[in-house]
Symmetry: C2
Subunit: 447 residues, 2 copies
């Protein structure tokens, strides 16, 4: 058991709430600040992508003792349902029998996590805005506005769980020798909804992650418990087919009629929601160091925001907390060691999942129409199926294991280097499923 | 001639002052703000590396009509003087006959540039701190502190020339889709001084850039007009030989005795200055976009801070202003076009000089002790000398021409790819100066 500390968490999102539960279990006094209103009292934003809880997320929830509560909110998806133009829907299994990712609405999960943190004894202060952080003294300053009078709070420890645009990190960034980058991609997203049938059932298969790939844009849909689907349209901000060129009701209508005729009529309030819901940007954020002595550390998106194309943002954030908790158990009251080992262990792994997520974006947005890329995927898949002991699919390593992300990336790069050589074989289009190619891959792996 | 605008420049450094001169020549009303005191009234900081003006810098000064004034402050350096341990000093010419870089003290140049901008009719407001920028309305807010009452200024255009830690960019960074990175290197620097002889003459050759390379640290010295040299010690912050391990007078004494015995006694107040002068960090900053509609743009370090190992920081900033002026002449009052074409033209070039400067740092800090690296340089040099039409040295392209930095980088990468192959030739150590290697390089270039 650690010596009791007076702890502030900035941000009542998923990662902040989970951390509050762990810190309460260690016996600390926990206050969670959030500049926004309590999500339990307001309509959720209309700008969220459904979450895909996988192995790492569940592991952290299990350690926090709240896994069973959260399982009730989640729907298992064991496959992709591919809605390709001019083809019937077909399915791609994610992994082995029993392996699945779990669809959860961000709003539903966040409300529940705050309930659970409150039950564990954490205090939440909503609509209280942090304007400054005194890092050496672990003080927070809150107030109505930047120029209004401020209230000062003294803590022992401060955790920045305030997301991609973290105020806590913003303060750390003004230090010398603080490395930082924010890189936006040229694709935005918009939330849409497919409501339940009148009897409450789902309009599409509810154990699938639905994808309508359309070259450099795509629609996805993930089921909710109430029978609805949360849909997300990913599309470039600018260009020929882009958010910029689809502005009027007529243009919206025509766009969906052209590209998504099979699902268009199922999306409720299509035109209204399209115009009302914001077009959101996606960013990769990296920084280092995450910690300031034994006073402050960053967790989740504030330390490492990633693009959502691997479904690992929340899982990576939850894994942060799991690792932090390990370090607390290992180092007791030596918070400087806890923070240092936590950041040093997590940094290469969160860089790796950032890279993997970005690679997935590039693949999805520019390569899915390339026949050579599709051939490469076909060769990999065939080989993995006949030699599972030699070729673990990257997706499974990331999603259904808790092996370090950095190892998954390394293996992925090794597999990529092999496939680069395979694809250079003359006439690969003809002999891709030959014994020659199979043996070539085996030789390259064993070298 | 453009329609007169009411223009603010944030920052009275070298680039801000030069921009003020150009804008006055176009007939604009110009106010320059600086949070620091007037450099003409105070001792300069003790944290500056001498400047090396080269082709691009002179070109911009010539266009501003102030080249001759500045020439008077500069000393031409046509060669490096290498002070290698256990060897006599030897010299390396920078370029062709008549090619030189020009050593100028930052303080001396900055004072003169402010004088010239004032003479041109710009107004300077020193010790006035900008706290906020209203970007859509081109308003600036200044005040004693962030929380004190603020003064509001209305302008037509605002230029952020406020350096690597720009407040103007800081505001732009809060926009969605603003890409930004700051990356610090693990090496710091400290300013030291070699004073003039009693008769005012220089203690070392005053037409050389002096370097004492020592593996992962080094000392440099550049002459000033008054007979002194400004020295800079570059050294890792942490590690076996590092700023961290040299803290006491005794340690300083021993360090210089061990590594710089030939120059130790010439450095004035060595121990006092070493302890008093700050150890400064070096950062590469990249961002995009630089401009906000027809209201705001960034120039110089605020848009693209680089590490100093190519001597191009100021030159790149001055080239920004030269390009901005071209665009003003081309587009007249269409400020949105001016800003857009300026940033689109400059961005790949400033990224390229950032990359080249960083590569030079890596070479200087980790490769100068590698015999294969030195052999590579020897082969390149020999080939360049016998085939000047086929192999222009990268340094000359960057320093003595105004070809785009991006082209210089591209050529450099091409030359590197050739040398990578040359270095793989078996027994290259024996046959490096053979006709076989010479012909191999020619073939690779012509392919």
């Amino acid at each position: 058991m650690q010596k009791q500390k007076n702890v502030a968490i900035v941000g009542s999102g998923l990662v902040g709430s989970l951390l509050a539960i762990f810190l309460r279990k260690q016996g600390h006094k926990v206050t969670v600040f959030d500049r926004r209103p309590d999500v339990r009292t307001v309509q959720f934003s209309g700008r969220s992508i459904n979450l895909a809880m996988s192995n790492r997320g569940w592991k952290a929830l299990r350690e926090a003792g709240v896994e069973d509560e959260i399982r009730k909110l989640a729907l298992p998806l064991d496959k992709r349902a591919m809605h390709v133009e001019g083809k019937s829907v077909y399915f791609q299994k994610y992994g082995e029998e029993g392996e699945a990712i779990y669809s959860i609405s961000r709003g539903v999960l966040n409300r529940k996590m705050i309930d659970l943190a409150e039950e564990a004894g954490a205090t939440f202060r909503f609509e209280e805005k942090i304007w400054d952080v005194d890092m050496p003294n672990a003080k927070l300053y809150t107030g109505e506005s930047e120029k209004s009078p401020w209230t000062e709070y003294q803590f022992d420890l401060i955790f920045g769980a305030d997301g991609a645009f973290s105020r806590t990190r913003h303060k750390m960034q003004r230090q010398s020798r603080f490395n930082y980058s924010q890189h936006f991609i040229d694709v935005g997203y918009k939330e849409l909804t497919i409501p339940a049938n009148a009897d409450g059932s789902h309009k599409l298969d509810n154990s699938s992650f639905h994808i309508w790939p359309r070259g450099n844009f795509m629609l996805i849909a993930m089921p909710n418990l109430d029978g609805s689907f949360t849909c997300t349209l990913f599309m470039p901000f600018e260009g020929q087919v882009s958010f910029e060129t689809i502005k009027t009701e007529e243009q919206i209508d025509q766009f969906f009629e052209t590209y998504f005729p099979d699902i268009k009529d199922e999306i409720s309030n299509l035109k209204k929601d399209f115009l009302k819901n914001p077009t959101s940007a996606m960013v990769t954020i990296k920084c280092f160091p995450w910690s300031y002595y034994d006073k402050i550390t960053l967790v989740g998106d504030s330390a490492h925001a990633i693009v959502p194309f691997y479904g690992q943002g929340m899982n990576a954030g939850f894994e942060d907390i799991s690792v932090l908790n390990q370090k607390m158990n290992k180092y007791g009251d030596n918070w400087q060691m806890i923070f240092e080992e936590y950041q040093n262990e997590r940094k290469p792994n969160t860089d790796a999942i950032a890279e993997l997520s970005y690679q997935n974006f590039i693949e999805m947005s520019s390569k899915t129409a390339d026949p050579l890329f599709l051939l490469r995927k076909k060769i990999e898949k065939k080989f993995a199926q006949s030699h599972p002991e030699l070729w673990a699919p990257l997706y499974s390593r990331v999603t259904f294991s808790d092996n370090a992300y950095a190892e998954a990336l390394e293996t992925g790069n090794f597999q990529k280097s092999i496939m680069d050589r395979v694809m250079k074989v003359p006439d690969i289009e003809e002999k891709w499923d030959s014994e020659e190619i199979e043996n070539m891959i085996i030789d390259l792996i064993k070298k």
